[in-house]
């Protein structure tokens, strides 16, 4: 069976790496990895029999023996094309899951801010790391277990109370090596104090045209009245496999805003979750996916309202071409204590061909009685009345359709605060939908 064979491959890879660790293999931090690999042994990779993976068959990725690759040389010039033109950023570059300090740069930050490699933290400040690591993203499937077992590198960001990080932090991930099927498993941790503010761009790109697997876990702690925005941009090659778990934890009065934009990848699975665990929090989850060929993009979200007087907004949109497939599963939990919750969810998709397909499942579980929750889903084709309206003004049919599709997609970026980022994303959408 592929599943067992593939599992054995990763377990033996783990053992090999472990042998090379020397002293580190005796540390308390490594115990956490060992614990994760034994959980990984217990789990199989999810199959479509698992309710959470019903519409996403990951069997194609089990055919490859993806492996950790180090020492790929990459220059500043190589990554230039992945930067957002004109946007001033603090840059953390991750190549095949490993933090590359020579390519990274940071402007002067308020005192107490830490932006460093996960590797550095493991070696130099494991006590700090262990206060947060693995406390939020629970190991509930094979992918999270695998990432946790292979938690060697990534980016750690600590923003103390009251600190405001002016410029974006761009965590730029590049994967690939000639002739290799690369396994990248960055592990990121974002810890923000009260009244702090930070905006993060998390982008994924490919170097070679091979099948690679990127399996990411992000844990994000949003402090009291803190404002954290994350822009996740998936732009890997069309053969890539990409699995991403982002778990946010929100303290009182905090705002967490997450954008998930998917353009590339063969099979992409995002799990974007936030737990609103104190009063007066706001959680915003937005997403856009544009798919073509035989791409498969699965967005799972969970907005967990645990406390009263919080609000959440969710909007995911997709444009599916050719025989591509989309999945949207949006869970909103309103727990029994979470009175006065205000939750809004919307999910829209346009299918450009009769072969494109989407499975959509809004899932609202409400246990409190004094709440306002709504959701809407609209799947379909373009509004023909609108197409005629544009044509009646002299705009050709093809251009009319393109204009309307672009408008449908770009609508998701309307709330972006950065004009440069807004224009950059619009530009990609523009080029993709021509």
């Amino acid at each position: 069976m592929e599943n067992t064979r593939s599992k054995d491959w990763y377990i033996s890879s783990f053992k090999k790496i472990e042998e090379s660790l020397n002293g580190e293999s005796k540390t308390p931090f490594h115990e956490l990895r060992k614990n994760a690999i034994s959980k990984f042994e217990e789990f199989d990779f999810p199959t479509i029999k698992n309710e959470e993976w019903k519409y996403t068959n990951i069997a194609p990725l089990l055919k490859y023996n993806f492996k950790q690759v180090t020492g790929v040389k990459i220059s500043k010039k190589d990554i230039e094309k992945f930067l957002i033109p004109g946007l001033k950023v603090n840059l953390a570059v991750i190549v095949n899951g490993n933090y590359v300090p020579e390519l990274s740069h940071f402007y002067k930050q308020p005192s107490g801010v830490r932006i460093e490699s996960f590797r550095n933290m493991v070696l130099n400040d494991p006590e700090f790391l262990m206060k947060y690591f693995g406390k939020y993203a629970s190991i509930d499937n094979g992918f999270v277990a695998l990432n946790t077992a292979f938690a060697f590198d990534g980016t750690v960001l600590y923003v103390p109370d009251g600190a405001i990080i002016e410029d974006y932090i761009h965590i730029l991930n590049v994967s690939g090596a000639e002739g290799e099927n690369v396994l990248s498993q960055p592990r990121n941790l974002v810890i923000t104090g009260s009244n702090s503010k930070v905006r993060i761009i998390e982008s994924y790109h490919s170097m070679a045209d091979n099948e690679n697997l990127t399996n990411v876990v992000n844990e994000v702690i949003v402090g009291e009245n803190a404002d954290v925005e994350i822009y996740k941009l998936q732009n890997e090659n069309m053969k890539s496999f990409h699995v991403n778990r982002t778990q946010a934890y929100q303290n009182r009065g905090s705002v967490f805003t997450h954008y998930s934009v998917t353009f590339g990848g063969s099979i992409v699975r995002n799990d974007t979750n936030t737990l609103l665990d104190a009063e007066n929090c706001t959680g915003n989850l937005y997403g856009l996916y544009l798919t073509e060929g035989s791409q498969h993009v699965d967005n799972h979200t969970l907005i967990d309202h645990a406390k009263p007087h919080c609000q959440s907004n969710e909007m995911y949109k997709g444009v599916l071409n050719d025989s591509s497939r989309g999945v949207f599963n949006g869970k909103v939990f309103v727990r029994v204590d979470a009175q006065k919750t205000n939750a809004y969810q919307s999910n829209k998709a346009i299918l450009l061909t009769s072969d494109a397909m989407i499975d959509t499942k809004p899932q609202l579980e409400i246990y409190a009685d004094d709440v306002k929750c709504s959701h809407g889903a609209a799947i379909g084709q373009l509004d023909e009345e609108a197409v005629f309206y544009l044509r009646s003004r002299g705009i050709g049919e093809e251009l009319a359709r393109t204009v309307l599709i672009r408008a449908f997609a770009n609508d998701i970026f309307e709330t972006l605060t950065s004009q440069i980022l807004h224009d950059h994303l619009n530009h990609i959408v523009y080029a993709k939908l021509k």
Binding site: A386, S392, R393, G394, I395, E397, L399, L404, A407, D411
Partner: protein, 254 residues
């Protein structure tokens, strides 16, 4: 300029237009009046090229060119403009960029140079002033969240921007209060000249106080049953549609 000859149109199994004849010349304003369901909007939509209508007979030409053989966008580029009864909301597309695209498509067709952003803006500002439309409506997505009056005003603004040769106004007065009606009519009157023509489709005479027609045609059950000058509209207002419907032979109204 516009010639409609013996036009028969069906929607599914129902015959809506039963032999329409109409000749509109440059410099003229024609009003098509009629009760609900008489086929007024069908005539407007067929001229503009909306799908869903089956032409079973007759012809429609613009300066001798067969309109029925053209796509909606080709008709627009040839100079046909339909002011919609229910203008469509288009989220995510700003009014200004929509009009720039439309205007340049039409200019390309006419062999004119496309307007660059600066010249377009200058041209647009002139027209905005003329129609009395403000920046706010221009930068918003097309018709999104507009009031009924704003939508109609936006149609007339588009009319001014695109400068067609034939403007067909489909129930432009519906849903307008008297002030909005005056503004919209003023826009249409500014548009009128000896080289273009206007067809006003309306249920009520009210609009024709402001856009004074040269000819009035009364459409009943898919046929033009009476034509005359502007006084015909007043007579209709006075006597009601029963006056003309009663003149249709009984056997044909079944």
């Amino acid at each position: 300029m516009l010639t409609v000859k013996d036009l028969y149109v069906r929607v599914e199994d129902k015959e809506i237009l039963k032999g329409i004849n109409l000749q509109v010349n440059r410099g003229e304003v024609h009003a098509i009046m009629g009760p609900n369901g008489s086929g007024k909007s069908t005539l407007a939509n067929v001229i503009a090229g909306k799908e869903g209508y089956e032409i079973t007979g007759g012809e429609v030409t613009l300066d001798g060119k067969d309109l029925l053989d053209m796509l909606p966008e080709e008709r627009a580029r040839e100079g046909v403009f339909l002011a919609f009864q229910y203008p469509v909301e288009i989220p995510g597309v700003s009014n200004a960029s929509f009009l720039k695209t439309a205007l340049n498509e039409i200019r390309k067709h006419k062999g004119l140079e496309e307007l660059d952003a600066m010249h377009f803006l200058k041209f647009m500002k002139e027209k905005m002033k003329m129609v009395g439309i403000d920046d706010n409506l221009i930068n918003r997505p097309v018709n999104q969240g507009f009031s009924g009056g704003e939508k109609k005003r936006n149609e007339i603004f588009q009319l001014q921007m695109l400068q067609p040769t034939l403007a067909v106004l489909d129930e432009t007065d519906s849903g307008l209060d008297i002030d909005a009606l005056k503004v919209v009519s003023h826009g249409v009157n500014l548009f009128r000249n000896k080289d273009n023509a206007v067809v006003v489709v309306t249920h009520y005479q009210r609009l024709l106080n402001y856009i004074v027609p040269d000819f009035v045609h009364v459409l009943v059950s898919g046929r033009i049953v009476k034509s005359g000058g502007k006084e015909l509209a007043l007579e209709l207002e006075d006597k009601g549609y029963d006056w003309v419907t009663n003149t249709v032979p009984a056997a044909e109204t079944v």
